[in-house]
Amino acid sequence: MTLATKDNRDSLRKLLHQVLPKTSILETDEQTRPYECDGLTAYQQKPWIVVLPETIEQVQNIISLCHEEGVPIVARGAGTGLSGGALPLANGVLLSLAKFNRILDINPANRSAVVEPGVRNLAISQAVEEFNLYYAPDPSSQIACTIGGNVAENAGGVHCLKYGLTVHNILQLKIVTVDGELVTIGSQALDTPGYDLLALMTGSEGMLGVIVEVTVKLLPRPEQAQVILAAFDDVVKAGEAVGAIIAEGIIPAGLEMMDNPAIRAAEDYAHAGYPTDAEAILLCELDGTHEEVTEQITLVENLLTQKGATSLRTSQNEEERLKLWLGRKSAFPAVGRISPDYYCMDGTIPRHQLPVILKKISELSKEYNLLVANVFHAGDGNLHPLILYDANIKGELERTEEFGGKILELCVNAGGTITGEHGVGKEKIDQMCVQFKPLELQIFHDIKHSFDPRELLNPGKAVPTLHRCAELGGMHVHDGLLSHPGLERF
């Protein structure tokens, strides 16, 4: 990687001014400060320069110029990512796609829409509502997060178990490659010949190309959707109830779990009517035709009662359904209100391991004397333990990160993964050394080099260098996991 030296910074700045209007370039400290971090605020770095192009041609020009000058580029959507994937580089250009916020085409008959990357996730569903269609993936940040970032991170949400992740819900991408070429990946048809580059691009964290257009798949809105709120006096019972629902042959549209601290925080914030004395709640949404939902609601209610639910509440109308979800969807900000800081983990485990992992997290919580609020996509085993801490108390951040590292260690050992939907970014780069062997990391670098041989697109994210892993290897505390995985070391 060539660093942007003083000399080529000056020449690149001049060139950028030639291809962009003055208002599309931010350079002063005051202007670039808002871009110093994404949703993971623990990491901060001001970019050298911020550019806000408005046309694909401008994006191509910017990338071509950076490529010629050997200056790295970090692409950014709404900056809601939780793994530092859009963390700027001190010597790099921050490429904001914020101005690409138009819906270009809605094609109800093809059940698709063509949108620019800066369109907000929820705005897509809102725009196609009149055709009785919607875009299925719904990350909790869907009010703010943009589709370009969703593709870059392969974002999930609470409806993944039934409707899949971003990778299952897009048809085509237009990307600008590192040499400035505009390329179409995928197609408007269901299958595209050749290697599945669409799958490779999805979740590639801005390392392979810059997304400038996305064609999303749309689904018909289900006739009916109802959610059951079930309370339990024991988290393990709630975990077992999850397995029982799946074993019954039912695929709920959403199946979420929260533990007591999360319930109390969410209730206090959203007033959704959650039972604050419950040890755990499950939110089980069923959708489909009227007949199907009515039939399955009864079935699931009975099942939950059998599995020890202490109370049940089923939404009777859309307003009530949305209210029940509001508590869950606002769980993160709700927890943010009760604690000065929190650290959100994102491991995934095989579902049957849920009760065991929950118990271990609870033990670790006592050991570290740090409260954990657990918010789970229980249906697909994706855990979001939120560790509550106060960064102003000396040593508490370090203890939190050590605790977080232990949780991810539990996930990997249980046959799961270090990240289910938030991405590796900067945050989990060291844990990649635990999840993958050197050969596998090498092929990731090879893939990167197939697209970006000089490592100019979002360098230093998502895939650690083998050198870094080797050095970490020498520092392992136990079981191959480092004690402070979040800390910058090299």
Binding site: A109, N110, R111, N132, L133, V167, H168, T177, V183, S187, Q188, A189, L190, D191, P193, G194, Y195, D196, L197, A199, L200, G203, P220, R221, P222, A244, I246, G249, G288, T289, E291, E292, E295, Q296, T348, I349, P350, H352, H377, D380, G381, N382, G415, G416, T417, I418, T419, G420, E421, K428, M432, Q435, F436, L439, E440, I443, I447, H449, S450, V463
Partner: protein
């Protein structure tokens, strides 16, 4: 149920081939060898069928992991015993078809527009690269964004990036009820009806048109299916399961022809018109067409529709109408990226070289 682990043996073979630069042709159940470009290279066969067995299956996890050489039949039987299924309805084309072949070809059946494709359900893979290195990607969990999605990259790559050793697949419960309604109508009417149905919230699992009839398959809870059945109207098809199996396995009379079989993947809303007999599946997004027209004409027509045409089968007797590239041409930059990837996974081009494209 046999379980035989031949990982070491397969790795040794690939390593040796890498050292000697011997080209290998990967063969599983030998059921889909017709698919892809004809082999014009001097190759040695490497068989995966012996590397078989289900490694893990936990019905409540909705995940099965098996060695690539495991017969599809065996997997489907086990899933059926637990009231589950492979949601993408992979075609077998022979009783010996293997899981590895299903994933390497990436073909999906009539359920595809409504539940997803082979690639959609792959969660993890273990492969041997063209350098003889064993690697694992993805896993057994539904959500996993650690590292690039190499597992899905393997789907449809026809073994040109790696020899599949193990595959983890997401499975789904079998629908409680399934019926097929058939309604006589013209192709024009059928295309409009398919679009309307495809935008509805009915519990659809297939929409096909052939022989002047629209076939509407409904799957789901019994109450939902019977209510939808009334809305769709038409006649209820008897032995519907056989019908869809014949379609999927291409044993349906439509597929009896002396002409080449083309597969056109197009947007749902298309105007495919080659003046040839066609079978329309995937709610209008897939056309099977028998034709001896020029490949270029057919491929160009598909491109104009926003899709792509593949020469799927040439007639076994009348082979002269085969072409060098059975898959449609790619944009230059896309091709370059794919060549770059091939070079990284298989630098000497020893794995199924030329089968997908003559230079991959």
């Amino acid at each position: 149920m046999e379980s035989i682990n031949r990982t070491q043996e397969l790795q040794d073979r690939v390593r040796a081939a890498f050292n000697d630069k011997t080209m290998l042709e990967i063969v599983g159940g030998n059921s889909k060898r017709f698919y892809g470009n004809a082999n014009t290279h001097k190759t040695e066969i490497i068989e995966t069928r012996i590397h078989q067995g289900i490694i893990s299956y936990e019905p409540s996890e909705l995940v099965i992991t098996a060695r690539a050489g495991t017969p599809l039949k065996e997997i489907e039987n086990l899933l059926a015993e637990n009231n589950q299924m492979l949601p993408f309805e992979p075609p077998h084309f022979s009783e010996h078809a293997t899981l590895g072949g299903a994933i390497a070809t990436g073909l999906s059946g009539s359920r595809r527009p409504f539940t997803g494709s082979a690639r959609d359900f792959v969660l993890g893979t273990k492969i041997i690269t063209g350098k003889g290195e064993i690697m694992s990607f993805g896993g057994q969990v539904m959500k996993n964004v650690a590292g690039y999605d190499v597992s899905r990259l393997m789907v449809g790559a026809l073994g040109t990036l790696g020899l599949l050793l193990e595959i983890s697949i997401k499975v789904l419960p079998r629908p409680q009820a399934e019926v097929t309604q058939c309604i006589a109508m013209s192709q024009q009417e059928a295309l409009v009806t398919m679009q309307q149905l495809n935008q509805s919230s009915l519990p659809l699992s297939a929409l096909a048109y052939e022989g002047e009839k629209l076939y509407v398959r409904l799957s789901g809870a019994s109450s939902a299916v019977s209510s939808a059945q009334k809305k769709v109207a038409g006649e209820t098809l008897v032995h519907a399961e056989n019908y869809w199996q014949q379609v999927n396995e291409q044993t349906h009379p439509f597929f009896e022809s002396d002409s080449s079989l083309w597969r056109l993947s197009v947007p749902y809303v298309s105007n495919v018109n080659l003046n040839e007999k066609s079978f329309i599946d995937w709610a209008g997004a897939l056309y099977w067409i028998h034709s001896d027209k020029d490949a270029e004409e057919i491929q160009q027509h598909a491109i104009e529709q926003g899709g792509a045409a593949t020469l799927f089968r040439t007639h076994q007797v009348k082979t002269p109408n085969d072409i060098q590239e059975r898959f449609p041409p790619l944009q230059a930059k896309i091709k370059q990226l794919q060549v770059n990837l091939k070079m990284r996974f298989d630098p000497y081009g020893i794995l199924n070289f030329g089968r997908l494209y003559s230079d991959l």
